[in-house]
């Protein structure tokens, strides 16, 4: 979280304030985030139709450019693009040892030569999608599918969609984000989105070693005790404990972590009786969440996946629309 790229939110918007790239939630206006959620709502019903497809992006080419592996995010982006009738190319590019800037630029130029209309980018380095958005030829949209520890804006928006779906809105809501905040780009994007959308309180719960030092500046309340932190919250968002980091000195053991911060029914009792439990997946059962909660009645984890497709459809069509639409053309849609 210390590696924030320059605040280049301007690159995301057209002159008349429409979404052109979707790289980070930070600094975006509330109305735009609400537009994304509203547009996603109309795409949710497409998934329930006889023909789960709309012709909006027919003839467009979407390239999933994954420098870091992912199953769920990539496949939901792929499904979202296909439900919009776009053609999809999936590229899993292994981490290269050569100079990253040069490699990235070369890759980009090659893909542009294939006349792609959109890059969906996941990269292990914070800021890589911003770099690509700045370098890419005009009329190509870039969506950040997760960069380093920086941001994962479509995940945050699908979480916001889920919260709004179950809670009706954000006013008065207390939301707790629990676990490995330090390594989580998801948490960072969620914090920005919740604050922009007007949640009452965003709480971070975790051990000091997994909390960034200056995190209060993001507009959150920090707790190191689960019982205190979960008291009366409406939404509990559990984060994946990034097991690959367990070797470092940040944590004593998985068992110890689960005892202190793992969500089970007993700890969940501190939250409001109608609180929902979310998780961006993949879940580590018995590490950050007990099966009794993950599979329990308060869990909306699988609904998040379903909503994720609709939210990604919304972001894809809005960014392509931001490339294509000419501000000189007014609002009069021909009859």
């Amino acid at each position: 979280m210390t590696l924030a790229p320059p605040p280049s939110s301007r690159v995301q918007l057209t002159e008349d304030g429409k979404l052109r790239h979707f790289l980070s939630v930070e600094h975006l206006p509330r109305s735009l985030l609400e537009d994304i959620l509203d547009t996603a709502a109309s795409f949710v019903d497409v998934g329930g139709r006889a023909i789960k497809k709309v012709p909006l992006l027919r003839g467009k080419t979407v390239v999933n450019l994954f420098f870091e592996s992912s199953t769920r995010t990539r496949s939901t982006f792929e499904l979202a693009a296909k439900r919009l009738s776009a053609d999809v190319l999936n590229l899993d590019i292994a981490k290269s040892a050569t100079s990253k800037g040069e490699t990235l630029l070369d890759t980009l130029r090659n893909l542009e030569a294939m006349a792609a209309d959109m890059f969906v980018v996941r990269h292990q380095d914070s800021g890589a999608p911003f770099f690509i958005a700045n370098e890419v030829t005009p009329r190509v949209a870039v969506i950040n599918a997760g960069d380093g520890r920086h941001a994962h804006p479509t995940q945050a928006m699908l979480d916001m969609y889920t919260i709004r779906h179950y809670k009706g809105g954000f006013a008065g809501l207390r939301v707790a984000i629990v676990g490995d905040i330090l390594h989580s780009r998801v948490a960072r994007s969620q914090i920005h989105a919740l604050n922009i959308l007007g949640a009452e309180e965003v709480r971070l719960i975790g051990p000091r070693t997994l909390l960034p030092t200056d995190v209060e500046q993001l507009g959150v309340t920090v707790f190191t005790d689960m019982a205190q932190g979960l008291k009366d919250v409406d939404v509990v968002i559990m984060l994946r404990l990034q097991k690959e980091r367990m070797d470092s000195a940040l944590l004593p053991s998985e068992g110890e972590f689960f005892r202190l911060y793992g969500l089970n029914n007993e700890k969940l009792r501190h939250a409001r009786p109608d609180a929902i439990v979310m998780h961006p997946g993949p879940i580590n059962r018995g590490v950050e969440i007990a099966s009794e909660v993950a599979d329990g009645p308060r869990s909306v984890i699988l609904n998040q996946v379903t909503f994720g497709i609709a939210v990604r459809m919304a972001v894809m069509s809005m960014t392509i629309s931001g490339q294509e639409s000419n501000p000189d053309h007014g609002g009069d849609h021909g009859r």
Binding site: D45, I51, L56, H333, G334
Partner: protein
């Protein structure tokens, strides 16, 4: 030129009468196009002796001008609370002009199923067609110059007026 509530009401009465004459099997279902068409469909349904199943369609994802105009803000979900397969549908819109909205609506309907028939009811037909589409039931036909449009205000009361649009874009 303006149409007040009473004038719109009388257009709707005529349309509802024509609709009631229709005795298809199965009885038709109404599909209003967001937002003006949905208002008209609702108003027609209130005038029928037996209300018909009523759905709403937002054709934003099916428009052919996405490349030049982009996505409309605030797209509403389509809602068809009946089985489209084998249904006799009456598509309802407020204003018929180029016919492109109707084409988009028919494309969308076929993604829900295979209707037995689709007919078209509009409050105003203002000409300037660009596709081979015509209304089966029409409240009023107007001959408007290219720079003028009818705009419906609603949902209650429904009124309409002719407005100038900017010179040809």
């Amino acid at each position: 030129m303006r149409w007040n509530q009473a004038q719109i009401d009388s257009l709707l009465d005529g349309m509802a009468e024509a609709l009631a004459l229709d005795s298809g099997e199965p009885p038709p279902s109404l599909v209003g196009i967001q937002s003006g068409g949905a208002w008209v469909a609702e108003a027609l349904n209130q005038r029928l002796p037996t209300p018909l199943p009523l759905g709403r369609l937002d054709v934003s994802f099916y428009r052919d001008d996405f490349d030049t105009r982009g996505l409309k803000r605030s797209v509403k979900p389509s809602d068809l609370p009946f089985d489209v397969d084998g249904a006799n549908l009456v598509l309802v819109d407020d204003v018929l002009m180029t016919g492109r909205t109707i084409r988009a609506a028919m494309n969308e309907l076929f993604d829900f199923g295979r209707p037995a028939s689709i007919r078209l009811a509009v409050l105003f037909d203002i000409g300037h067609r660009q596709l081979p589409i015509r209304a089966d039931i029409c409240g009023e036909t107007l001959a408007l110059p290219p720079h003028q449009r009818v705009e419906l205000a609603g949902p209650a009361p429904l009124t309409a007026e002719i407005r100038d649009i900017r010179p040809e874009e």
